[in-house]
């Protein structure tokens, strides 16, 4: 019964969304305040109904209602509760429902916190947001309805893909979607501004917190996904340049560019049309991502509901919104006249350089991802574009970005002096170079990647610290009292440096060992000694496990007992490997157990992964920096201070 209510609530939300997409838009055009005011209650109702539908689906998963087709396909009564819940979005239909839930949540937030927006702009933003929701409601209801029943309910379900039964992946999709869909706010603001015909500093101030929030969530989501790949897939890769990963990375790059270009609009009222274009493209790339994941056009390890009919539907949504917004942009862009004036050497120019690099890097990822398709369609060549290409073609842009970042971010606004900024950074540069040289001498005869990564990382981290120090007028007492936005900037830039160093260090200095390990016969890998002391069969809640006991020693001293596992999930008939990892500050020791060998012993893979944690620590720092910046006083006006919320919104 609850399921039917949920289904009904979803249909109601669809109908409300249609009203909200049309009425406020007409109201804003004709200046009919009554019509514009429809948007707010509609946005809130739309969210509540969608939330109810989502809760109903969750209830069906939690109670293992196998009369629901989706539950039967993706759940099992013996599955732990966490994965019963994460199973709601561990499939195509449920994840689409989560997608619109977040879409309507952002719409409702704009209605809740947006009472200081000009009324016409607010009405238009909510209408555009709702138009996107209409398309996705229709997609769910007509092609991927999660609420379909089975005539004869089976006794038990078919279980969720065991790879997805993992805490890292349980929370990866919600964060990722918060990021993807958060960019819809930037899109709605951009389209509303084009309809309105004006973009000014205030507009940038409203857009920036939403973009920042989306970017934070996207960073966390991508970080979680990559961490999951690292410990779950069994050889410690953390990024595969898979089409689906790229699909989440491209909006991230563009959102990062948008964050920075919005600053120029806010400070100098320039770069307006480019910022609008970025906002449209960032969300456009989110939609392309959805399309890539769900159409089956490109093969990927994430293959998820590959269905041409659905693919065509999403392609239509993509064409309508991105194409429509771009056409609107073409007609209206010239009305956005730039106002501010600044020199060729200035912070503004550095931000333009940042945008050029991030956008071109995104373009490289885009071309690489779609090239196999282009090549097959137009040149009749069937080829692959894999990690080696991206590593070569993408990395240079990040290196240049890292090199100019510390200088660019300390240049003066409006009219800067390159020599002065470089002069301020001289000690940081020398320190970073000295560290890199030291490491280069110590490692003797290995690739240059490690030292170069260390140089970039140190250059950015110390540069960010020096930036704070200089902002505080070189006084310790003032450093802590700097605005949070300054701290946020330094954290985010430093985090990028930490991530770059982590990636370079891991790739340059990884040690790998593959062997047949006999019981109780110690062997050495790098500076570690390992010993397999036993292998046991263990029964898990919904799987059978083969678990090894591996003792890890340095200098004869035991530092950890590692338990690598091989699991078999009988219902899904799928094996998974669970690596055992000894996490330390400077390195991880990563052990994977394989098959028993004839003549005794087990295949054992050992990896020493230096600086692995730094990659995700850097990502967390970036997200935390974004959060600090978001919580800055300055934004509380734009994002809506909590204090102002109690007051009822007057019907205008």
């Amino acid at each position: 019964m609850i399921t039917e209510f949920g289904h009904f609530a979803l249909i109601l939300a669809f109908l409300i969304a249609i009203v909200q997409a049309v009425v406020p838009l007409i109201g804003a055009h004709k200046h009919w305040y009554g019509w514009m005011a429809v948007a707010e209650p509609a946005a809130k109702m739309q969210f509540l109904f969608t939330a109810f539908a989502f809760a109903a689906l969750t209830y069906a998963f939690v109670t293992s209602d196998f009369s629901l087709r989706l539950v039967w396909l993706n759940s099992h009564s013996a599955k732990p509760m966490l994965y019963k819940i994460s199973g709601v979005w561990g499939n195509h239909e449920g994840s689409m429902l989560l997608w619109v839930l977040i879409l309507t949540l952002f719409g409702a937030c704009a209605a809740w916190f947006g009472d200081n927006l000009p009324p016409t702009l607010r009405a238009r933003v909510l209408a555009v947001q709702s138009a996107v929701a209409v398309a996705f409601f229709a997609f769910i209801l007509f092609t991927s309805n999660p609420f379909l029943r089975l005539a004869v309910p089976p006794f038990d379900g078919q279980d969720l893909n065991p790879l997805l039964q993992d805490p890292g992946l349980a929370f990866h999709p919600p964060f990722l979607y918060l990021g993807y869909v958060g960019l819809s706010m930037a899109f709605s603001f951009a389209v509303a501004a084009l309809l309105e015909g004006r973009v000014d500093a205030a507009w940038a101030r409203w857009v920036r917190p939403w973009t920042l929030a989306a970017w934070i969530f996207l960073s966390i989501g991508i970080g979680l996904g990559s961490w999951w790949a690292y410990y779950e897939l069994g050889w410690g890769g953390f990024w595969f340049w898979d089409p689906v990963e790229n699909a989440s990375f491209m909006p991230w790059l563009l959102a990062a560019a948008l964050l920075h270009s919005a600053i120029v609009v806010e400070k100098r009222e320039s770069l307006k049309s480019w910022t609008i274009l970025l906002a449209i493209l960032a969300f456009g790339f989110s939609l392309i991502g959805t399309f890539i994941v769900r159409s089956g056009l490109l093969t990927s390890v994430h293959a998820f509901a590959n269905d041409p009919e659905r693919g065509v539907f999403i392609l239509m949504i993509l064409a309508f919104f991105t194409g429509g917004a771009l056409i609107l942009f073409a007609f209206r862009a010239q009305t956005m006249e730039a106002k501010g004036v600044f020199g060729v050497v200035s912070r503004e120019s550095a931000l333009v350089a940042n945008n050029v690099l991030l956008a071109v890097a995104c373009f490289v990822v885009f071309v690489g991802t779609l090239w196999p398709m282009f090549a097959e369609m137009f040149f009749d060549r069937k080829l692959s574009v894999g990690a080696p290409f991206f590593n070569m073609a993408f990395t240079p842009f990040m290196v240049i970005l890292g090199l100019i970042l510390p200088i660019g971010s300390t240049l003066a606004w409006k009219r800067g002096k390159l020599r002065r900024a470089a002069h301020q950074m001289r000690y940081v540069f020398v320190l970073a170079l000295a560290l890199a040289l030291l490491v280069w001498v110590m490692q003797t005869g290995r690739s240059l990647m490690g030292p170069v990564g260390l140089f970039l990382g140190a250059w950015m981290v110390f540069g960010a610290m020096l930036d704070l120090w200089m902002r505080a007028g070189r006084k310790w007492s003032r450093v802590l009292r700097l605005p949070r936005a300054d701290w946020g900037k330094s954290f985010a830039h430093g985090g990028l440096g930490v991530t770059m160093f982590g990636i370079a260090g891991l790739m340059a200095w990884q040690v790998e060992d593959i062997r047949v390990a006999k019981l109780n016969e110690p062997f050495t890998v790098g500076q570690f000694e390992l010993e397999l002391t036993g292998v046991n069969r263990v029964q898990g809640p919904n799987y059978l496990s083969t678990m090894g006991d591996v003792i890890l020693r340095t200098n004869g001293e035991q530092i950890a007992v590692l338990n690598p596992e091989k699991r078999n999930y009988p219902v899904a008939q799928m094996p998974t490997t669970e690596a055992a990892i000894d996490y330390r500050f400077l390195r991880d020791v990563y052990v994977v157990i394989g098959d028993p060998q004839q003549g005794g012993g087990w295949t054992l893979r050992t990896y020493i992964k230096p600086l692995a944690n730094w990659i995700w620590a850097g990502v967390l720092m970036m997200a935390f920096g974004g959060f600090l910046s978001l919580s800055d006083r300055r934004f509380r006006v734009g994002a809506g201070a909590s204090k102002r919320r109690e007051r009822a919104v007057p019907a205008e």
Binding site: G340, G343, V356, W371, G386, F389, T577
Partner: protein, 153 residues
Amino acid sequence: MRFVLVALLLTFAVPVHAVQPDEMLADPALETRARDLSKGLRCLVCQNESIDESDASLARDLRILVRDRLVAGDTDEQAIAFIVDRYGEYVLLRPTVTGSNWLLWAAGPLMLLLAGGVGFGYLRTRAYTPEQKLVALSDAEKTRLAEVLDKDR
């Protein structure tokens, strides 16, 4: 067609795990070369995995084939050419710079030149335009301003 067959067979096969100890060559130099080559070759029945990482038995066959070629005295290029001849350029994870592929490789640098040029041109116009005079507020903005000021009072 052959790939489809292999894919079907694989569905029933028990997966083995990436590089196995029994595949590895005794000569460490050869083995390192083999590993490097394997990282650039695609597992044909997998999705975007190199044969070095893949569990599929076809990937294992290819890994062994690469090693056989190296042991037979092939250079890296010859070994790769041997495999490309049999499986097509689809196996190369790093596409060659031949024919239309130059467009793929040049896309980034060309775009950087273009975007850098446009960006620089824009910066110059910003630097040499005279500062605009401030425009008076429109009537609507005046009422809105009064509203905002009243609200905070």
